[in-house]
Subunit: 306 residues, 2 copies
């Protein structure tokens, strides 16, 4: 990770500053959309807010905002869909952490939803967040019905089955009990993590009215960015300490989760990170817009595994 | 339940024949929409189909078709949304049956999803069905984007929180540990069961282009029909045998579920059934369309607790 071209502090600051600037904006909109803590049924709504406001980096909504603004959309037209992406992400974390799934007690250093509340409440909190994600887009009066429709379909395909997040989670559970090929591993990663990241980028471009070629280029960028995100996530699980992660490191290896370091070793995985970063940035070449921020986001993701 | 006016075999046959005629139509469309059993991830898709094709009566989709046709819509424009309603209903049953929720091993005489497969697969099957419900409406090219948008929003409000199915389930869990008032009981019933039945009727009317007054009348009809449905369901749980139900009767009482018979006793509950049936039919009075079928559906629901 020492290539000078990736260390330009200007581009790196670009993504960092962008995330820092928009995180409170996204949080404020989520706070506006989600049922209040004192609204009945209180336990359910407290569980939803406990999980959504757990200190997440808001990567998916920020990516949507970055892509949308790159193609000229206003923040006000992007914000509700960005929050819907985060709600889908939050619901998936709540359900993934359940005892019958990954059985995690901690996330970002805090008790997971079913530990803080109870299992039934956690299942319902996830269910309700998924519903609210689609409702939020359907009710977004800043967008035409036509666009909202495309956004709901796009998000549903990315979140569901046979080619989205739910399918990836099912495949990942299946993979725990046996060896997987590198093709299977990439597919699991794409469906579990990449599909939603890709949807975030595509939704941003769609709201901005990007043309077909631009959406194709952004899709290519986002597919590779999602892969970069997942590989660096796997590496962090191997190399980081519990304090860094806010969860128990090495857990993936112990439970025989399909990961890149498990399949290729840490050194080869690090080289893959560089290669995927390059492919991610190359995908931006054909876009006739100022793509510095999107390039900076790729740098930012790559460099988080330091 | 002996009033002669409710025993007219003509109207009763109306609803019965309608349900019998459309059940295979709805099943064929669900079969077309749902991922195939041999499509990867296979275990997930088998679990989804196990639960959706478990012998359900297709009450919600049939109600949508009945209301839609009453207001002049074509079956072809109603069918996908009808299936979406059934998918939301199926997902809710899968999650309700989970060990941390109602902990049911049997439904309609067959093993529930988490018994037949496993808990993680059951959670994901429910999650994926919810996603597919919204996707199905968003991708329904027989309807305008405007209508699809309203349908997604309507279904999401009915299925979510703070005033839909997920909220009702959360309130019901909370009520298990304490006494509830009759107001609370009606609210739990409305949210858990009535909201989705009401959405089915309203979606049918919306697709048919019914005017505001007609939708208000249908909403009134459906709210009462949903209540009738839930009260007769509660009564069946008390009075039927295991063979009739395909599940263990009396389970609601043992787990201190909030039910009408538990709160008022069987005799008073039966009188309430008659009164609610009357209110349901009265709501149809202002609709200037042939509403015999909708009246017959109310008769049919009332008479199932024989």
């Amino acid at each position: 990770m020492s290539e000078a071209s990736y260390k330009s502090s200007a581009t790196q600051t670009g993504a960092r500053e962008f995330f820092a600037a928009y995180r409170p904006v996204i949080d404020a909109e989520l706070d506006r959309i989600l049922p209040k803590e004192d609204q009945e049924p209180i336990r359910l709504h407290r569980a939803i807010r406990w999980s959504v406001f757990a200190g997440g980096k808001r990567f998916r909504p920020a990516l949507l905002l970055a892509v949308g603004q790159t193609f000229g959309a206003e923040v006000n037209n992007l914000l509700r869909t960005a929050c819907a992406l985060e709600m889908i992400h939050s619901y998936s974390l709540i359900h993934d952490d359940l005892p019958s799934m990954d059985d995690d007690d901690l996330r970002r250093g805090r008790p997971t939803c079913h530990i803080k509340f109870d299992e039934a409440t956690a299942i319902l909190a996830g269910d309700g967040l998924q519903t609210l994600a689609f409702q939020t887009i359907a009710e977004d009066e800043t967008l035409s019905a036509e666009i909202r429709m495309h956004l709901v379909a796009e998000l549903a395909r990315a979140a569901g089955t046979p080619a989205g997040m739910v399918a990836g989670q099912a495949r990942d559970l299946d993979a725990e009990s046996r060896d997987v090929s590198s093709n299977e591993l990439e597919r699991i990663h794409y469906e579990k993590t990449g599909a939603l990241i890709c949807a975030a980028a595509r939704c941003g471009a769609m709201i901005a009215g990007a043309n077909e070629d631009e959406i194709a280029a952004i899709t290519n960028y986002a597919i590779n960015l999602g892969l970069l995100f997942q590989i660096t996530d796997d590496l962090l699980d191997v190399t980081a300490t519990a304090d860094d992660l806010g969860k128990t490191p090495g857990k993936d290896a112990r439970s025989r989760k399909a990961t890149f370091p498990a399949l290729y070793g840490v050194d080869v995985t690090r080289k893959t990170v560089s290669a995927v970063h390059r492919t991610t940035c190359d995908a931006l070449a054909g876009i006739n817009k100022p793509t510095e921020l999107l390039r900076s986001i790729a740098d930012f993701i790559m460099q988080r595994e330091a």
